[in-house]
Amino acid sequence: MLRNKTVGAGLAVLASTVLIAGCDGWMGETSGEVDITAMSADELADYLVLETDSYRFEQEAQEGGSARDRMVQDGIQAACSIEGDPDSGTAGEVIAMARESYEAPPGGPRLGNWRRGAELARSGYGYRIGHRNDDHGTREAGGNCYACHQMDPAEELYGTLGPSLAGYGATRGNDSSVVNYVHQVVSNPHQYFPCTKMPRFGRNNFLSEEQIAHVMAYLLDPDSPVNQ
């Protein structure tokens, strides 16, 4: 299940079926005419993404690296490219990969400022590239938690792709075991929820450790509106 992506090597062989490229043939522009019917669906999908000039791969990504790097899958992304829930074997492997790639911040997770966390939870700005690029120099990127979760019970506009987090800290407290657990979930949630839809905000360098601390305060600080 957890395959390393070695599609490039296989494609070189497939690409030997060379014909003269058509006048506007996309395959002709990249590597000669390729027999796409000789590939598995997985191979063709990777070929289309990585080898057919379908994306603006030369653009820089805000988290570092190039746009192309975003479309080359890591182990968890590859294992979770499935319909529905993972089988138990895949789930175990994903959990293991997530644990291995998890990093606690120096000195351990802590709670920041819930007011700053509220701003980050509401903001959907950041990391978008393509026809328009989000400029992190002029506006801070957010975590966009409300796109998927209810948080402050007084906030009316919230998504339901994830569970409600209203009163999250009020029912759980905020001792060190809770703080450590919430950090693991925000930073690399596949440790507990293999193939979850939720982004790996820490592992993917989407939020800084300082920002994660603020979001955690929004969830766990007794004074936060989430817990009123």
Binding site: I36, I82, I129
Partner: protein
């Protein structure tokens, strides 16, 4: 102008509608049937305002403008698009839009609608990529969106039925399904992150479920007037927006990732009637 689009076209179309793909239906009638058949779909019923506006869908203006453009002699070669084969013969538009993408012998590849339209505007009419006629892809003012809306309208009410007889059509459809579930980008999302369940919301917006054909046919029924943008948008524009919000890499137009995704999209709505043009939030 509105009345002409509303009254004259359905009458003209009813006469020539292709029987094998179902009869042409007014897009509002298609929508009303979907609403009646799915009283519990939060996605289909999410906007009373848009449902009320549907008979006066602003996209119908583009149908009329697109018709004029289609039959006008244009481009360096000064010919109309009546020689363009969208898969059912030169100039045959009835049911053509819902039977794309498909494999074209003359180019030797699977092409989606927009790719094919651009191909014809270049090969027949002589436009180049530098001409605004093909270079400008988005917005009510673009020739591409006017032509797209007119041509798609000729398939309203007909069932999505993209052919899979050619091995490359099947290969692109199957790759498109893999792409739908392919995780990537800065947030690890795939298309199913938002379209895997029925009735889920992203913020205030109710999302369509891909495996629910009656929700999905509305979801993929572009061109549609997108109220929030105050412009008519295409399938390709929807893909570009999703990919951008997913924090993947920016996607280019006329590329095979678009074609494969649309091959799968349209297949996932197979048998369900298309709403062309639709009106969306």
């Amino acid at each position: 102008m509105f009345k002409k689009a509303l009254l004259a076209l359905p009458v003209a179309m009813a006469v020539g509608a292709a029987a094998q793909a179902g009869e042409w239906q007014d897009p509002n009638d298609v929508l009303q049937n979907l609403l009646q058949n799915n009283p519990d779909s939060a996605y289909l019923h999410q906007s009373e305002m848009n449902i009320m506006m549907m008979p006066d869908n602003p996209a119908l203006w583009l149908v009329e403008e697109g018709e004029d453009l289609f039959y006008a002699q244009r481009g360096p070669n000064n010919v109309s698009l009546e020689g363009c084969d969208f898969g059912k013969g030169p100039g045959e538009l009835d049911g053509a839009y819902v039977e794309l993408p498909r494999y074209f012998e003359d180019t030797g590849k699977v092409m989606d609608f927009e790719m094919r339209l651009v191909h014809c505007m270049k090969e027949l009419q002589g436009f180049t990529s530098d001409d605004a006629a093909v270079g400008q892809r988005h917005g009510n003012g673009s020739d591409i969106m006017k032509l797209t809306t007119y041509i798609a309208h000729q398939s309203s009410g007909m069932a999505w039925n993209p052919p899979l007889d050619h091995p490359e059509e099947q290969a692109m459809r199957d790759a498109g399904e893999k792409l739908f579930f392919r995780r990537g980008g800065a947030m690890d999302f795939n298309c199913a992150s938002c379209h895997g369940d029925s009735g889920k919301q992203i913020r205030a917006s109710v999302l369509p479920e891909m495996r629910n054909g009656q929700e999905w046919t509305k979801a993929i029924s572009w061109p549609a007037h997108r109220a929030g943008h105050d412009n008519v948008r295409s399938q390709n524009h929807r893909i570009r927006g999703c990919v951008w919000q997913m924090r993947h890499a920016g996607i280019k137009h006329d590329t095979p990732v678009n074609t494969a995704l649309i091959s799968f999209w349209n297949d996932a709505a197979r048998g369900e009637p298309a709403i062309l043009p639709d009106l969306k939030r």
